[in-house]
Symmetry: C2
Amino acid sequence: MTAGDPEERQGRVEPGLEPGLDRAILRPVRAHHAFEACVEQLAIAIRLGIYPPGSMLPPERDLAAMLSVSRATLREAITALRSAGVVQTRRGRGGGTIVLDSVPVDEKHSGVKELAGRQDDLRDALDFRAIVEPGAAGLAAARCERDEVSDSERRALETALAAVEDAPDEAIHRRADSILHLTIARLSGSARLITAVTDAQDDLHTLLQAIPVLPRNIRHSSSQHRSIVAAILAGNESRANRVMYQHCSDTAALLRGLLG
Amino acid sequence: MTAGDPEERQGRVEPGLEPGLDRAILRPVRAHHAFEACVEQLAIAIRLGIYPPGSMLPPERDLAAMLSVSRATLREAITALRSAGVVQTRRGRGGGTIVLDSVPVDEKHSGVKELAGRQDDLRDALDFRAIVEPGAAGLAAARCERDEVSDSERRALETALAAVEDAPDEAIHRRADSILHLTIARLSGSARLITAVTDAQDDLHTLLQAIPVLPRNIRHSSSQHRSIVAAILAGNESRANRVMYQHCSDTAALLRGLLG
DNA sequence: GGTCAATGGTTGAACTTCATACCTTTAATC
DNA sequence: GATTAAAGGTATGAAGTTCAACCATTGACC
């Protein structure tokens, strides 16, 4: 059956025309246990500032539903976060799980050492980001152009931009930056892009933790943010795309040095 | 903590500056049972031509490892495929699971009706594809330019292109087309892009099943394929990107009509 | 023709996850 | 201050998943 295979053996036939494609395409159906995956997602949401220090996670029953796990499993995850010192829990009405202020940075986990085993993966992450984020910005602009963006969405974008500019310290700045990018992804209206940008931002976070961010870089970045938001709100798709690409490229250039 | 919230209540605080962002970002940790997810992945691999009719799946032990599930779970999946008439299994040395020729098209599942509940999702899929596939083509070209592409990879690309042109019927053409796109994704060297393109191709498959493909469209598509492959092999990143974008846009325009 | 090795088939115990129901605590609320 | 509702805490059995052996079949190989 395989095209032009001369030996008519009846047995195994190489998959298709592309031997090995299956190894590239089939992916683990379950990387972790459910509760580990929950820990990971919550940790990401906290790192990216979706649940900033001082805020409360949704009630366990709601969170479990959002993550499509049972409450028992979610509670295992929260227990893990609690014993890692990331959150605290209070019972009773008005209680809940609160995100602690000083997310323990785990000194061991900061710095370049952490990046060791992931160099190729993180290079990939930077490439991927430079594809999906400009795509998201472009789509968002296109939706603005077609007037599919509500006023509240527009305001959310401006608020997110302002939050980045007003950030008083590096940690808050980093979170506000992520939120801005995620808000843009949300404006794109694409669930797939939101997922892709979330993943990209988390990888970016990993990399940025390894270096101190210079004021000069922040200024450069802020000016690009303003251009991007302006292009989106003006409905200028190609410009939004182009400036976001530049923004991602600049960051990537800065970071690629870390990866040898 | 919430920006400008006047009431200093100690209780729940809205997540961050972006209420509702969490609902957009947290995703189900497990959509299906493990064995269902296996069925799905295998079905996709078969649909996309990674395991074409007449070919054999890898031994159960290998497949289980690739999908990171136990053999017991994988066997449940294969049993499901078998009773759906998609594959057949022979025991003993040289035995294994073979993909049957006539993948039963499930008449109920073809046609426009199937698309009913997924219109927004499939529109999203087309948008997403028009972002990631050009990105993959561009990266592949860049890798060629930097001479990071082996001869065997170059040949694989040419073979995949030839297979599309030589396809004797619609079903084979469709599979060869998917393989070509996946081969390009593989040449990009990015695991994330391979995943993204695989997903996009499967969604595309869903849509294309609903309409008959006209010879005119095939010719148009083939000429674009040639341009794309040429641009990649020549290491012309921006051209590869641009032509692939055009290719995706043209297909999308054709299909968007189906989605109201 | 006999042996062997590669393949699918089977079993059962340990662990994880789920679904459900119910308990306890505590702040709102009246 | 009593009531109530909203949260976290606990318990239990069913279902799903894993793991590790072992069995059965059959073509490949000598």
